[in-house]
Amino acid sequence: MQKNGKKLNGCADIRALIIRAQWESLNSSEVKALENHLRVCPSCRAFQRQIKALPQTLRSGLDLEPDPQIKERLLRTLRDESSQEQNIPKSVRFFKSLLTYRIPVYQVALLLLLAIGFWQWKSHPQSVTKQASDQAIHHEQKFRTSQDIPPKIKSHLQIVRQLNGSLSAKDDSTLMQFVVTTM
């Protein structure tokens, strides 16, 4: 019988299988090798018996009894603890229970970080937009009064007007905002 190209007939290999079989199931070829070997090897049969009897061997003769005083002491402690608990006002008990509640700290911290990050991301473009809008209004006023619109913007406006037909005053203002922010 072969396992990973290694012969599985020696006592050492078979004993390793006997040990492994105590917590996991062997494959069919390993089972066959084990059976074939055990049929002819009394030493490994004895080894298998010893391994199988380990729980019994470890427990037998170990007639330990817990000290009866331990139970008494523990029950007394439990009684004391519960009577102390009764004396605490209900509101304090509520806050105490909140404190002792198990919170998954890492997960909460991660969620908090994500929330802060999202808030930052969300608030940032808005502020930029507002700033750009204010700037655009300022420029628009300036341009409209001085009639000094740069030729580049003029040509942009012309192209967009041609594409969209006539634009209202409101549309014109939005367009101006767009052009200024993209400058």
Binding site: N9, G10, C11, I14, R15, A16, I19, R20, Q22, W23, E24, H37, C41, P42, S43, C44, A46, F47, Q50, I51, L54, P55, T57, L58, R59, S60, G61, L62, D63, L64, E65, P66, D67, I70, K71, R73, L74, L75, T77, L78, R79, E81, S82, E85, T100, Y101, R102
Partner: protein, 193 residues
């Protein structure tokens, strides 16, 4: 009568909920269910020191009483209890207060394990030697070995208790068994294969 019986057969996790409410009876049931096996576990892990094992038993159940809120309901009570016990033993090793005199430990084992109804002298001697050789394993190997073979817990339970992957538990068990079989080879002469 019916209610009394149902209380006794209540699941450990249900009993823990009752302990949180301060029910003494629930604690008594849990204590009676686990005290003996936890004492046995401590005894083996603490090199056969019975007095220390009794102290540890008390400390363990005191934790159950005083900090029941630390019980994670996604796990079984048994696994949780063994996890606390395992960590207590590990801390004890770290504090270096555990007696490391194997001979002394052997004396304790031989005194407490004498049993007149023993079936064979060979078995008695084998067990004594096994206990003695167990001391030569590393803490993690010994813990894995005892949890598997003495307490008969599954690999999944042991990996949860020892907070390591199942593969690590298997490896620890394998090398513990291999080392023990080598140390105890006189009980099992090597075959000709």
């Amino acid at each position: 009568m019916f209610f009394a019986a149902s209380r006794i057969h209540a699941a450990d996790e249900q009993l823990m909920k009752r302990i949180k409410k301060g029910e003494h009876q629930a604690f008594e049931i849990l204590y009676d269910r686990y005290a003996r096996q936890m004492l046995r576990y401590f005894y083996r892990m603490l090199h056969g020191d019975e007095a220390l094992a009794q102290d540890f038993l008390q400390e363990l159940f005191l934790k159950v009483i005083q900090r029941p809120e630390t019980f994670d309901h996604s796990r079984t009570f048994k696994t949780w209890l063994y996890t606390i016990a395992y960590n207590m033993c590990k801390n004890e090793y770290r504090r270096q207060t555990v007696r490391k005199n194997y001979l002394a430990a052997n004396d304790i084992i031989s005194q407490s394990e004498e049993k007149p109804a023993e079936t064979s002298l060979d078995q008695q001697y084998f067990r004594k030697r096994l206990m003695s050789e167990l001391e030569k394993l590393s803490t993690d190997q010994r813990a894995a070995f005892l949890l598997r073979f003495q307490e008969e817990l599954s690999i999944t339970q042991i990996s949860a208790i020892m907070d390591c992957p199942a593969g690590t538990v298997k490896s620890r068990l394998f090398y513990a068994c291999k080392k023990l079989s080598h140390l105890l080879k006189e009980f099992n002469p090597k075959g000709d294969g």
